[in-house]
Symmetry: C2
Subunit: 381 residues, 2 copies
């Protein structure tokens, strides 16, 4: 992709060359400082690769969330997924971090499957499609190993009875002008899509609403969702709730040049439903920072900065810093060719997939154990 392509980051469109410093500036979020990382590590009792490697790089009020926790005011975690297709490995990455936070802080997770959103925003997606993906995506989430006692999976359409009364309160406070400015809506947007931001705000307040408390909330998510949290934060205090905090990750790349993924090109990402053999094939075809010929590469070295294989090492598949530094050194020095390097990643991904798919099978009969339907008993009427 050309370096000068305009960067566009909205909840429904991410394109252009990513400049994360610029995004922090544009969105008005905060960088996660070394001091804040240390505070988080100290409280969690250990560090985490995705913070250490700056996959999670930006936040809103993370420091406040930790301070409240120290004071005994425990937060809830809220994140989600738009079920418009199968999940790929990149989608799992922030969920793995979410599980870590949930465990280390012993807090409740509300996970929103936004079936209504994806139905509104995807022209050819039917309700049946979206329901099927909702179920399939839930399996991927639960395969990560969340504990049912502290995990509540919300499906917007299925659980609307617990959400609508809060959503109407949010919606009354957001004008079309605001939604247009924040999300870039055009007049051709359907009225469901325009309504939808109210629904995405709800899980940030749901716990407080159900239990009559004022409970802090932190949202681990990709930074493209930040426009939603700006709206949610804007209405929060007027509704009597805390503004939700967030901890934001970079986009986890696909396998094509620039990390691009394409829904219509199955080779552009490794889906959790791929066979290990298919995954291997995709890794072997992945875009790298290699040279045109082996000879040239041995002489000039390759570029890990633009290599999708290296990105997968960085985020998840090479947690040992020394091993990673050694691969990088060999790559830049031309000591290793891309084919060899892919031979290291492929079995790691295959093993990950095999385990994930076994876990996916195992949760198939247990989806109801995680359902937010359990909250109905707790709702004040």
């Amino acid at each position: 992709m050309p370096d000068d392509e305009e960067m566009v980051v909205t909840p429904w469109e991410v394109r252009g060359k990513m400049d994360y410093d610029r995004l922090i500036e544009l969105f008005g979020t905060q960088r996660i400082t070394p001091e804040l990382k240390e505070k988080l590590y100290k409280m969690a009792g250990e560090e985490h690769i995705m913070l250490r490697r700056d996959l999670f790089f930006s936040h809103r009020d993370l420091d406040w969330i930790l301070t409240e926790y120290e004071k005994g005011n425990k937060f809830i975690i809220y994140t989600g997924r738009g079920p418009s297709g199968h999940v790929h490995i990149g989608h799992l990455v922030p969920w793995i971090f979410t599980k870590w936070m949930q465990e280390k802080f012993g807090t409740r997770l509300y996970f929103q499957l936004t079936d209504d959103e994806k139905y509104f925003f995807t022209p050819d997606l039917s309700l049946d499609d979206v329901k099927r993906y909702t179920y399939e995506n839930a399996l991927d989430l639960l395969a990560i190993g969340f504990e049912p006692e502290n995990t509540y999976v919300i499906q917007d359409i299925e659980h609307i009875d617990m959400m609508y009364e809060l959503a109407v309160q949010v919606a009354k406070k957001v004008t079309f002008s605001t939604a247009k400015a924040v999300f870039g809506f055009e007049n051709s947007m359907n009225i469901g899509g325009i309504w939808y931001p109210a629904m995405q705000a709800v899980p940030a307040f749901l716990h407080s609403w159900i239990y009559g408390t004022k409970t802090p909330c932190i949202i681990p998510c990709a930074i493209d969702q930040d426009p939603h949290w700006r709206v949610t934060r804007d209405v929060a205090e007027r509704l009597g709730y805390y503004k939700p905090a967030s901890i934001q990750n970079k986009f986890v790349p696909g396998l094509h040049e620039g990390g691009k993924m394409s829904a219509s090109d199955p080779m552009s990402a490794i889906f959790t439903t791929d066979t290990p053999k298919q995954a291997r094939k995709k890794v072997m075809a992945a875009y790298t920072g290699g040279r045109d010929t082996a000879e040239e590469q041995r002489k000039l070295g390759a570029n890990p900065d633009i290599c999708t294989v290296f990105m997968y090492y960085d985020f998840l598949f090479m947690p040992d810093d020394k091993e990673l530094a050694e691969i990088e050194r060999k790559c830049r020095g031309g000591e290793i060719l891309c084919g060899e390097c892919k031979q290291i990643l492929a079995p790691r991904i295959m093993e990950f997939l095999e385990k994930h798919q076994a876990a996916r099978e195992e949760v198939k009969d247990r989806v109801h154990e995680f359902s937010a339907a359990r909250l109905r008993e707790d709702i004040r009427r």
Copy 2:
């Protein structure tokens, strides 16, 4: 009001001098012809004052609804109320007609209390206010004497679990451009208000959706709601349902000049919660077509065409055509003064109110018998 004031008729604003012929033309509805009335009377087995006196004057597909009924394809009736305040006598008028239709055709009624709508569209109305009015308005509806077996009262927020899946399907098919053109929405409209038309479409399809049928639907309502039905009809066939028919009434006037009502002026309408004594006072203060002095009126006669007392006779309180003609003759001829005429209306309204209020008391413990919550058992999952 000046005759040249521009006529504005939307579901949320009605002002200016009403020109019902022009409204039929503007909205593209059909006049109820004498032939169509005859057909309806024949099928119902009797005529009805509100058709005879042209309170119901306009329709869409009423002829088709009757033809389908003759073929054995029974319709359902759908109407509703926005619970933004107490009900006044004018609101009851189309409900009385609705009950007549329900009885004569033995059909099911879905009655929507649009609590979400009134919350979105009324800046200072709280959710608590709207819930209180929803309950109070339901009492007025049920006091009309609907039979619970065939009557399903929907409250949008309470029954959203039965409505959202249909509403998202409607919403996906309506753009902001369309909503702007049909309803006159500005960019300052909140995103709940923009979403709301999808909710008002739902009861037209709900029966068909729940029972997996394709059931005709007719909507008796004031003509200001027609923009909603244009949107509903526009999406109906694309969702696999019939376009809803409608039978539309004129606005039932208040007691001030031009039939104007004002939420902030309690004297402008007779509320069902007024004491008979208060009602009497309001009738005695009502705007009429009388002259400045009794002497002048005896000489020149008065004008029943602009008289709110006469309008109340016309719609409901003087069903005998001969009696009405005689009053009109005396009025125009100056044989009766406005005070005397009001003395005829006042006890009729007081008696009506006493009966209505007794019926209102009687249904207080029976509201649940009419609740659409009963439909949950019938919904295909």
